[in-house]
Symmetry: C2
Subunit: 173 residues, 2 copies
DNA sequence: GTCTATATTGCGATAGAC
DNA sequence: GTCTATCGCAATATAGAC
């Protein structure tokens, strides 16, 4: 999950994102985050001086994970749009966790909404460049958004993905 | 918004849902809900004895709004799937507000997750009956989910809907 | 860099007057 | 049916020892 799990700051972000995913905003208290990361609350606050800084740290890590994901997408060649949907249906990757954490935070934090808008923009640009068709790019992105939305309340998207692939085949994709 | 705005219980649910939509769970405190509905906290707690009961009331109202919506969909005839997507892109209707409130609550409350799963199930059944094609029904539902997801962080879905309609036209819809 | 102890605030809920 | 006053608790954040 973390790039370097021995780094306390990374472990704190991991704990924060995981608690957001599993228990929502009010489950991700400073006490709970510190305990999950194996430090005291004082230890946490040495690294992130306030909850706002912890949120900022989580959103910044999302941004760098998205940058990496965009590079991975570009490496997928012809299957780029399929790679996008397959990873949208995935659960438990660092990116997935980070993205769900951000969509929890977006409920109450404008910064998280902005981060999600930027993420969507980055993915749309890659899809649109690849497909050369804004209608298809937007439609595929919405399907991916839908799969994230459903994961948020515990629905596996494996079956959904199979249905979608059948429809894409009819569109020559 | 309310069926009967002079009914205090309805006004309390309206206030609760609106605060959830606009400020998330931690913005929807009993104090804030009571103030927005124009009563005191004690007044609120006379009608809903705890926050859990308020949540239950909101989810039950969602369920009845979905029942009504399913009937409206069936009245849309050939345009049923288009009606579904158009209403998914709508903002500010009682159903829309109630649904976004539930997706906020779903972060931390299993009951809300269950309510959303049932809502999706009801809509899927109508779409699938109408289209006679589970691949298309699931794909269209995911697109609708995606539009709800995006509304949650303040993205207008009017343009997105236009793109989607172009793709549906290619599929003979 | 990590800890404990504590100040402070705000929330959910109760009690009882009107 | 609605109000005010208040209790108890949990959460953020600070202070200072180690």
């Amino acid at each position: 999950m973390a790039r370097n799990p021995s780094d306390t700051k990374e472990r704190l972000l991991d704990a924060f994102d995981t608690l957001l995913d599993e228990h929502g905003i009010s489950g991700a208290t400073l006490d709970a985050v510190a305990a999950k990361a194996g430090v005291s609350k004082g230890g946490l606050l040495y690294h992130y001086g306030s909850k706002a800084e912890l949120i900022k740290g989580s959103l910044e890590r999302l941004s760098s994970l998205v940058d990496e994901d965009v590079e991975s997408m570009k490496s997928a060649g012809d299957r780029l749009h399929l790679y996008y949907l397959e990873t949208s249906a995935e659960v438990g990757t660092p990116l997935d966790r980070s993205l769900i954490a951000a969509s929890c935070l977006a409920q109450e934090h404008e910064d998280a909404k902005t981060a999600l808008r930027k993420t969507r923009e980055a993915w749309f640009n890659v899809l649109n460049d690849h497909l050369g068709d804004a209608d298809l790019a937007m439609t595929i992105q919405l399907i991916g958004d839908g799969m994230y939305f459903n994961q948020n309340f515990g629905l596996s998207q494996d079956e959904a993905l199979a249905h979608v692939k059948n429809v894409l085949a009819r569109l020559g994709l």
